[in-house]
Amino acid sequence: MLFNSTEFILVFMPITLLGFLFLRGVSRDLALGWLIMMSLGFYAWWRPLNVFIIVPSIVLDFAIARCLLNWNKDSVLGKYRKPLLITGIVVNLAVLGYFKYTTFFLTAMNQVAGTDFVITYVVLPLGISFITFQKIAFLIDVHGGRLERFSFRDYCLFILFFPQLIAGPIVHFREMIPQFQNLPPKLDRNLFAAGIALFTIGLFKKVVLADRMAEYLSPIYSMAGSGDGVSLIMAWLASLGFTMQIYFDFSGYSDMAAGLALCIGVRLPLNFDSPLKATSIIDFWNRWHITLTHFLTAYIYNPLTLAATRNRIRKGKSNLKPNSFSLSAFLVVLAAPTMFTMFVSGLWHGAGYLFILWGLLHGLYLVINHAWRRRTSVSKATNENRERMMKPIGFVITFVSVAVAMVIFRAPDVAAAADILRGMIGLNGLVVPENIYAALGGDAALPEFIKAGHIPRFPLAFVCVLLVIALLAPNSMEITARYEPTLGVKPKENEQRWLYRLCDFKPTIAWGFVIGGLAIASIAQFGGPSEFLYWQF
């Protein structure tokens, strides 16, 4: 079920919330049981068969986790804890691999090795990538002794909680379950109102901003690579437009998820923090899909770096130090783990060469960014003035780098991506509106690469509006910060910026009309083509 559907907003959401609020007054156990049941219904709605995949996997993972918990390190069974953990991780990855990568792998085999495997398209269970990562993190946490007790109900709630079930954020057991266990019996009306506001803002971002942008972009990406060449303005429209689309799509979804959780009285982790305002690519990944970055860092990057560091220490080689730069240490301890982590990130986003390329490109960006930081910190040339000067430059470089990578993420194939990227650097010529072409002197005055043609003005203006919102306006977390809408978000003291003060949400009558207006604008757009870009990841 999509959050932006009539069925969800008119039927599922009211029934679930009202049922939960009623049962919470009676018994917390009943209320949590209700949440699990409705979450399962939410998951089954799209494809009931999915339940037969997720339920056995939950039972199996829970059994493994109980064994990991109960098998004391010093007991006879203690020596099997690590093999059991590895088994659990492998089983989870195998399930993910089967559903997500079988088709890709067999197709690649047929292309590369000339084999003749029959390609059958496997239906991807909803949110399997998110759920798999969450379950793996849980097993590792239990194995590492970071969780001391958990019940089957808590585990089900942790996996199935419907706001974050199909597209994240990726949550940790220890940050979620204590909140459920400590739910007060009475509804916090302010929190509920903030949740409704956050949900509606997310709905608006998704339906009005992202989906409308998608309508303009699809024809450009479909036509790219067909031979005509995407001209300069259209190529930048495709790139910036998709950057805006995916940002508003995914952050809108995260807002809706956070809003729904807040209505229940639970705070999800922060997933977006105005990533397009980032002044470096490292900064970008600390703001974009934050929970995925944390997962990849904690469970892939850190272990790899740690292993590489230990290996070098054992061999007596130099390691990364704050005040010196060793190229070999940098490559082994930082660059290689970064590239591998981002390769995994690309593969996680989708089973396709372009997703892998996108991940590797971001890996390269990060390596360059880290190298730059290390060089500048070593040379000790950093000072306040320099930093102030570098921030806008860093912002522009980061933004353009992200926008370039987004073309690779969105393009249907390599030819289309190459076509748009060529267009972005002007190799496909510049098409300008006919009146401007004539005003500039036409054929006689203008070089050959400038041509007259149709440029859609509304999409260009729309991208500019979205850019202004994304780069200058406060984000939804800042708007609702007064109510700490997600974990770690706190209201800012003494906010000086007038726009931020104006947008400081309070559940007043005036805000009721503002949020109600956003709801009306969103619902008016229902029925058109719409799909969360991230919901099958």
């Binding site: 009539t6 069925e7 506001a197 559940p507 005036a510 207006g517 229902f526 058109g528």
Partner: protein, 322 residues
Amino acid sequence: MNSKPVMFTAIVVLMMLCAFAYHLRTQGIFACNGSVYGQTRFLAYCNSLSYRDYDQGSFWHQLDESAYRHARQAQVLFIGNSKLQFALSTQATSDWFAQRSTSHFLFGFAHNETVRFFSPVLAAMKPQARVIVIHVDRLFEDRLTPPMTILANDPGSRRIFRTKKVWQRIHRPVCSFASELCGQNFGLHRNMENGHWLFTGTQGRLDQPVPTGDGPPLEQERWPDRAQRARDFIAPLQADNRCVLLILIPSQKTRREEALYIADALNLPLISPDVEGLETFDRNHLDEASATRWSTALFETAGDMIEGCLSPQTSLDSEHSH
């Protein structure tokens, strides 16, 4: 300003409900007439942003058991597009079959539905028809229609069409109780017993009817492929000694030459009675009067062949099936 969370929530919820009510009325199922369901019809199509096609999904996912059963058990099954539905959803058709105590089912679909849809549906349905009448117009093109795109590509398509079925259950009593709550957008209701369409709403008709005629041959280079697809489609249908008849219903630009080419390739006659003065209400579909005349003419022309096929002793089986 002071916080008034209850008031805030009430305002937002109220505005949302108003927006939904307006959206459902103008862009949802309530944009269409819902007072003609009766006991035997479902809403096959409603020209609104959020509803649109239900027809194909109903048969693909077997959502309306009665319609599916009648289609499977019909002795004469008509296959084709919306032109077939409009041309044959007439009293003349019903009367002809009623007089012979024979069941029939109009299995035509909007968007010029193609064999990409019909082949898997018929393979699953295993129709028991003794006679299959195929309207060849655009049936053998290799393309996915919008509803078929969902059916073929969206693993959650069953849920999409089931949701539309649920909405019909709300639409029916609401529109019966207060018809002013429902709009007059173009809508099509399918009779589950014989597949006939009932056209409702005030949209979709041109001010002046447009006469039928033959159009120029189009996409001739694709005709051989289409003929091959026709062979592949018809071969399993003929397997059980069934009669297969090809027909062509006229429109403003009837694709007669292509239809003749396909019939010739299949070595089957093309039945298309020549009726003077036929008119369409939208360039594509015969209006009610023309549909009555044309369907009457069809049964005058092909009635003997259909009856012959229905008779177990007939030699027509071998004539048309082999």
